[in-house]
Symmetry: C2
Subunit: 330 residues, 2 copies
Amino acid sequence: MYRITVIPGDGIGVEVMEAALHVLQALEIEFEFTHAEAGNECFRRCGDTLPEETLKLVRKADATLFGAVTTVPGQKSAIITLRRELDLFANLRPVKSLPGVPCLYPDLDFVIVRENTEDLYVGDEEYTPEGAVAKRIITRTASRRISQFAFQYAQKEGMQKVTAVHKANVLKKTDGIFRDEFYKVASEYPQMEANDYYVDATAMYLITQPQEFQTIVTTNLFGDILSDEAAGLIGGLGLAPSANIGEKNALFEPVHGSAPQIAGKNIANPTAMILTTTLMLKHLNKKQEAQKIEKALQKTLMRGIMTPDLGGTASTMEMAEAIKEEIVKG
Amino acid sequence: MYRITVIPGDGIGVEVMEAALHVLQALEIEFEFTHAEAGNECFRRCGDTLPEETLKLVRKADATLFGAVTTVPGQKSAIITLRRELDLFANLRPVKSLPGVPCLYPDLDFVIVRENTEDLYVGDEEYTPEGAVAKRIITRTASRRISQFAFQYAQKEGMQKVTAVHKANVLKKTDGIFRDEFYKVASEYPQMEANDYYVDATAMYLITQPQEFQTIVTTNLFGDILSDEAAGLIGGLGLAPSANIGEKNALFEPVHGSAPQIAGKNIANPTAMILTTTLMLKHLNKKQEAQKIEKALQKTLMRGIMTPDLGGTASTMEMAEAIKEEIVKG
Ligand SMILES: CC(C)[C@H](C(=O)O)[C@@H](O)C(=O)O
Ligand SMILES: CC(C)[C@H](C(=O)O)[C@@H](O)C(=O)O
């Protein structure tokens, strides 16, 4: 029995979460789902975007599913706080083409491993008389830890190559450290290929030669940018899942946001959230069940059952129902 | 008569510069070209990547053409120093599809205006016991100035829309300032549409809906990343020109680097450098001549005369010669 904390959040977060839980019901796994609150609706009710109670529930769960939240300027970001408070240092963002979906590249299969705790995300920003200054903090420990995670992950997944992405020609010290630690870790994996590119070049290579990537490891903000770009290559944010993984806890969320403009219409694409549950299942060592969901999703897409963002006419829950049926059929 | 300082630099910088100067000879404009040194070869000869003499020649020229330099770790970057020393605050990077060239989007025509003097490029980086810290500096003055440049440029080019790109949901103060100044300037151009996106979303939109962009204005590092991504959309860095523009001086360079691995083989694509000269000509108010080169380049590409990176068999100088002949034919 797995104890899962469920944070639907705001906007379409609520809808895609409902769809994903619907699909999970088709599996023969016992889950205990505990709902918890976060985000802007939660703020309106209780004055906090991330109540202490939610943090507690995330800490004691075997895993947490997170939908999406709306962050209003001035409010504390629930997701950034969760990543940092729980030290979820690795943000795993697989980029895998799906059948039947209109996209630029039908043959991509790589993963972006994004450092999730430091860089410009530390929130150390000050106003000055002329403007403002933000600190970009890079530590040896975090650089080493994320590189280790990337090599371990790549090895486990049977990949041959890990690519570090940085801007050490300009950020000589901070990204110099990141690159150095990467190559130190690489030397512990002599059977794996290791190389590195500048972030600007990578933004281009993702378009001109994306097939060459296997595992990309990078700092927080570059990972943010490149993973959205990569989602664009396979058909958009509606398809991109992610995992935030720490030593003790793990939280799974789609890359997309709460999309207030389409919320409440039952048209949000549940694919990213459903794929997100497969990352959770793999993390819980339920690989076969994860593959069942993936296969059922692929069949559903190949039958043309998809939401309007992909050119289809299915609603969020129709897509979920179709996937559930495919799983039951086996 | 225009006095042009010419800095070929290293690697393919030398080759594409020769090609571009060859093409310029076909125009009925009198230029006085003065060669100047910068980069790694220069460092080996004189111990400096950017000698005082070169800076002086750039300062007194009507415009400077810059090829590309190799920057060795530990050396001062010639191009970053030039941008900062001469306060070349606006980095203009047009993204325009070319006919006959294999690319994802044959119909793009927008421009990225990149702030060129601050952000993480200020070089304010320190080691700490745990790693290193870099400062991201954003000022009201520079944010305002680059937004003004963007709106003026958009208006001059007959565009209707300017889009600011930032990450103000995380960089609340620094990018909050950038966004605020952008909208203040926008209010001085009521006839123009102004909107803003997060940088991660923009990295995706460039792939999923690039046709919607007209003028993008952004901070230094985001501009660096997005402009390489955009070059990927139209066929690669071999096609992307840029202008670095200040109050007093202007320096024109292709977006690509010195590409040591293909240097000396006469196969480098001269297109970016040749398009770079058209940006210079427009800056010198020689719009017709700029268009002559553009047309001749287009005809040459449509005849299939292109370098190996685009799938052709022409050498660097064969391409230049063909373009020159097209101009002479008229
Ligand atoms: C919502 C935002 C703070 C977040 C980030 O920048 O990390 C998002 O873009 C993401 O990629 O998860
Ligand atoms: C060479 C490098 C310092 C430079 C930059 O980052 O600005 C280059 O990538 C560019 O875009 O002109």
